[in-house]
Symmetry: C2
Subunit: 128 residues, 2 copies
Amino acid sequence: MTAETPLIRQASEIAYESVDAADGLEKGVLLDETHGASNLALRRFTIAPGGSVPKHTNEIEHEQYVLAGEYTVGIEGEDGEVTEQTVSAGDAVHIPAGAVHWYQNDGDEEGAFICAVPLGDDEIALVE
Amino acid sequence: MTAETPLIRQASEIAYESVDAADGLEKGVLLDETHGASNLALRRFTIAPGGSVPKHTNEIEHEQYVLAGEYTVGIEGEDGEVTEQTVSAGDAVHIPAGAVHWYQNDGDEEGAFICAVPLGDDEIALVE
């Protein structure tokens, strides 16, 4: 570890940027390989009131922890069964690799969540 | 996925238990292989006011996000340099595999953090 890869990053150091193909979604990388991580990345996302993320798949699984707000998460399981429910602070969400999923924030508050993923290439595909 | 492995777990479903060898530390597993995770586990820890976790190492890296409280995290880097600082909500902490680390909550509030780890065996060793 060097001064370039501090082991502790303060909230104010995290940069956020808008995510393409979503409406009102911002992403900040907390930790990834550029900060010395070997196996997984930790990111924080915010979804503005009225914001949404269309149906899509990722190649890698997501494990999420809801920090704030009340928003809807939809996930298609392997058996085609759809789980769609409103989540709020403290809830945990598992999105298996390749599962179609989406988000919708119909609340008045910003939604926020932590999303942990394995390091490595990811391919995002929008679903019609 | 079956009814036994729901993709969304509500905060109220998470069970917490005390962690041996620490004082005032509780651990709740949000997601791991028993919930269908393939690569990583997500856990939530709380540290009571006055609580502490002695110097120890883990075989696997930890990536953490601070949820609440103000507590001290200490980490020895590969070069032997010690990072020790007070963290609060929104901060991110990377503890490399094998790095000696410790926690101390000298605040009046409960500390809480999310800790993501790769799945697989971990060995915890206390350091004299």
